[in-house]
């Protein structure tokens, strides 16, 4: 009986199988990697805004407190976007003619809201409440990052369930004195963890925070 396949056919067959397996593993790894990549999480991606507002300048440079613009962060679920009037408190005096600020003036004139692009956005089935986090001393940087170093606002953390759970399951290390929550650069605190390593645990006790309950579904989903 004549050979059906050449001797090299086996080599080719085995290579093919190997390649197939590799591609399989590869694609799995790729999908996994993609979900964590900033393409999926949008971490570090800047979005075009009607006005190129620089947190770096206003927060880092001028040292304006977060709450000056995000007025309701302490009392409401939402931090709140600044009303045009808040911008104009200063910019009716400074840079009054700056073309960059035209949309602000236009908004004030036409009484139409400025349409900002959301950067830190959670799905609608997630109910995040700013006020309680502030009250417990979870600093803004924990989720929003060093906005004082962001010329244009970008997402600092992957807002995935895993990210929320990590903190909810072990809040202690992230807690600060509530009066320091809006403080961006607190390197002396952050650089010497041993000096305040007890603080978090004490606060967790003081507030009666029970991480075992904080990862329950109804904490965030309704």
């Amino acid at each position: 009986m004549p050979q059906i396949f050449t001797a090299s056919a086996d080599t080719r067959l085995r290579t093919a199988l190997l390649v197939f397996v590799l591609v399989l593993c590869g694609s799995v790894l790729f999908v996994g990697g993609y979900m964590d990549s900033s393409y999926a999480t949008l971490v570090g991606w800047v979005r075009d805004q009607p006005v190129p507002f620089s947190h770096e300048h206003h927060v880092g440079g001028l040292g304006i407190d977060c709450r000056y613009c995000h007025t309701t962060v302490e009392v409401s679920a939402r931090a709140g976007f600044p009303a045009t009037h808040i911008c104009m408190t200063c910019h009716s005096e400074l840079w009054t003619g700056a073309p960059m600020l035209a949309p602000i003036r236009e908004s004030l004139a036409s009484d139409r809201p400025i349409v900002w692009q959301r950067v830190s956005k959670l799905p609608d089935y997630v109910y995040f409440n700013h006020s309680i986090h502030i009250a417990r001393g979870v600093p803004c940087v924990a989720c929003h990052g060093r906005v004082d170093e962001m010329p244009l606002m970008a997402r600092a953390q992957p807002f995935q369930m895993r990210f929320c759970l990590d903190c909810h399951r072990n809040p202690a290390p992230r807690l600060r004195p509530p009066d320091q929550v809006t403080r961006m650069d607190w390197s002396d605190w952050d650089n010497h963890p041993e000096e305040h390593k007890l603080y978090g645990e004490l606060m967790v006790k003081a507030y009666g925070i029970q991480p075992s309950k904080l990862d329950n579904c109804n904490i965030c989903h309704r």
């Binding site: 007025t71 309701t72 009392v75 409401s76 679920a77 939402r78 709140g80 976007f81 600044p82 009303a83 045009t84 009037h85 808040i86 908004s107 004030l108 009484d111 139409r112 809201p113 400025i114 349409v115 900002w116 692009q117 959301r118 956005k121 799905p123 609608d124 089935y125 109910y127 409440n129 006020s131 309680i132 009250a135 417990r136 507030y207 029970q210 075992s212 309950k213 329950n216 579904c217 109804n218 904490i219 989903h221 309704r222």
Partner: protein, 994 residues
Amino acid sequence: MAGENRNDPIAAMRSHLRGKTGRAFWRSLDELADTAAFRTFLEAEFPPLSGPSDIDRRSMLKVMAASLALAGLTGCGGSPDQTALPYVEAPEFVVPGKPKWYATAVTLGGFVLPALGKTHVGRPVKLEGNRDHPASGGATDAFLQASLLGLYDPDRSQSPRILGRPTSWSSFDAAITAGAAELDRRQGEGFRLLTGSVTSPTMLRQIEALLSRWAQARWHVLEPINDDLALEAARRVFARPLDRHLMLDVAEVVISLDDDFLGPGPRQSVQARRWSTRRLAFQERRGDSRLFVAEPTPSLTGAMAEDRLIASPSRVEALGYAIAAALGVDGASAPELADEERRWVDRAVAALRKTPGKTLLTVGPQHSAELQALGLLCNERIGALGATLRFTDPIAAIPPDGIRSLDMLAQDMAAGRVTTLAVVGANPAYTAPVAPDFRAAMEKVPLRLHVGLHYDETASLSHWHVPLAHELESWSDARAVDGTASIQQPLIRPFYDVRPLHVVMDNLVGSLGGSDRDRVQETWRASWGESFDGRWRNALVRGFVEASAAPFVASAVADRSVPPHRDVQRTGLTVVFRPDPTIWDGRFASNPWLQETPKQLTKITWGNVILVSPALAKERRLQNGDVLQLEAGGRTLTGPAWIMPGQEANTVTVTLGYGRTHAGRVGSNLGYDAFAIRTSDSAWRIEGAALSSTGKKEIIATTQAHQALDGFDFVRTVGQPDAAGSRPDTVPGPNAAGEQNSQPPSFYPTREWDSPSWGMAIDLDLCIGCNACVVACMAENNVPVVGKELVAEGRQMHWLRIDQYYEGDPAQPKSYFQPVPCMHCEQAPCEMGCPVNAAVHSFDGLNLQVYNRCVGTRTCSSFCPYKVRRFNWFDYTGDDPEELRAARNPDVTIRSRGVMEKCTYCVQRISEARIAAKIEGRAIRDGDVVTACQQACPTRAITFGDVIDPETQVSRRKASPRNYSLLEEANTRPRTTYLARIESTGGGAEDGTG
């Protein structure tokens, strides 16, 4: 088919196995009648290609997707989620994400239903009862809960029309000023104003102004469901019209002659609250609470009665005379009574005599003035006047011609004496009696003007139509049934191009411009003078004007003459009219929430039926859904039959409000129009009617196919306020056996719960099945409406349903209500069934449904013994119109297609309370969390709270010996438990009667 033959083998087999026979059950009337409903189900469910056609059928709701930019709604950040729209100038005190509450009111039949409006960034999302209100004390009803949706109704009229064609306000202004000038010249001759019942001081002020300006003008009132006969009766007895007020919180014994005082209507929440006050006291053995009812057709009051007698309207009259005679009312002669009637009268009178001064006899306001007058005399005999029955001057203004008001108008129009007819907030073309023929007469009027929320039947008959602003978006005032005045303040700026009532009223007399706010303030400034500012603010904050309730008047009997009892010879059937329990006289026809709310006793949605008695059905071989032709007084209507247990044998009941032709895309062309046979002199009852079958069948969308309790112990009853709940005919569960809170054994570890851990107790002794909780739940939790066809297929979405059961002989059964939310079982089968952790348990005892994790295997529902879970078979919310999106509660997730949903114990309110408590650094207090259903309940039947803390209200109720859990034998350890209904009264039991 399963009927009797189904149960005999059971009985036989059990007698073999258990050595004792089961009791003889009767199953649903349908099975007696060869499962008609299931056949209709079958027809309902077997349209081939049901898929796409389902979508089409639902389009009735979907076409609402009117695309319009809503000026009032764009600023709410609710727009496509990627963008954020901050305020330009942040309004003071408005915190995005935090709701604000405003005290206001909606009205029904002119009377105030006091409400607190919850708004998110200026958008009303929920109405709740006003706890401070002297009359309601926070009680609400389905109408109050649902009127929020009326605000967002996409079918509301949105521009003035002339001859049906939309036109501009300017052209209307031009026309109306010209017309007014003309009328000024003619002293208003030929001008007629037709309104609904009016309690609003401002409205009255404007009407008086109009009438004084035009001496010849005349004002008429049309309120299809009114108290005219009651006022007439008062006029007979007291020589002046008086409003009656039932002091049900005082009355320990109430005899109701066909008076459904717990039933739907403007007085429901107030009277139900009073009744529950008495009932609660009685539960603590403070005084008695007994209710005797004689009625031709089942009512909520009858369902709560300890002793219910089925009597035709004419027999009700006879009973009235018999009681009067027994009480010794002069001139009252006892007519012939059947034994059963005789015994009932004896029991009733005995009860009346027992606690003088604390008894009350009430006659249905739909009965003849003679009978009601007799009732008043009886009350005088038993010392009820001024005690359990008190009077005030009429709260609603009485038009010049009083009871004949509408007939006069019809005559004048027919005689051509009317040149201009202005209809404000009424719909005579639909609700006016057919005789005298109002519509025909109306055609004769040269200029017809309609002012209303919708372009309705009357509008279509009018030259001009003027769109009104909704109560929740305009300023007004009105009085509650006790006379307490409320200032209605808008919760939102009108988002259609419409005008407020009081502005239009002034437009009529040619004065343009000005705001409704000024006009209302004008009214009150007049009466308050100096102290206006303070009192105005106070009225707005509290939701009512302090101490504005009408004072009770001493009621001296002027005329004791008793008209002789005329015993009508019954020929044929008796037709009785009733308002529809969910859409009233049709004014709520375009409200999907109310349309989909099951009628309390029939569980029918999206339509009305002709109620016939089981006996009549048997005699005529009728089945549910058979289309009948009803001939009464020479007029006919056709509608589907519904066999009503407890209906008087030869009485058929028709309900008003359906069969509308101009009720928008939701409400038009549903059911039959009972106004078509209603004349002004037989407005509530027609004798000598005839019934014939058309041989057709109609699909009836009901949410409960089977209402026979069959001796199961789902609803338990006790004889004593503090007895353990059980039914004599069922094996009592552990609770019934007296060992409270003893849990049946289980394989699973018993978990220790920290406080707070939530639970609910529902007192079946208080629940009157009014549906307020059902609608409140829909409003709070964004529960979608699915439409008639899907309801007929068993796909309604109500998270909270009220099961209605009959027990006993179908001719005169006992009737029970049982609200069934999710039980939040501690050992929940649903959770065990879910493969993806979408149904899980929380640390505070909630049975959670995580919509965004659900993949829709529906195992949870298969495993749920209570079948309280609801599934999104289609995308029910995707193409909701902008308005309905605006009505949604932003604190509750909108469920997508293919996910399971169910009662959450209002988890959003729990979270809110928990976070608030944490920020304030305190524990959650009892009462911090009030679920929507609990808040809505007029009788305080629902309590909710922490079941670990023994001091909470709910713990105290659960400690009651009447406490039991539904389907204990399933051992699911429900968090929602029930308190057994008390069947005979403590007082009665003490001295052996009752």
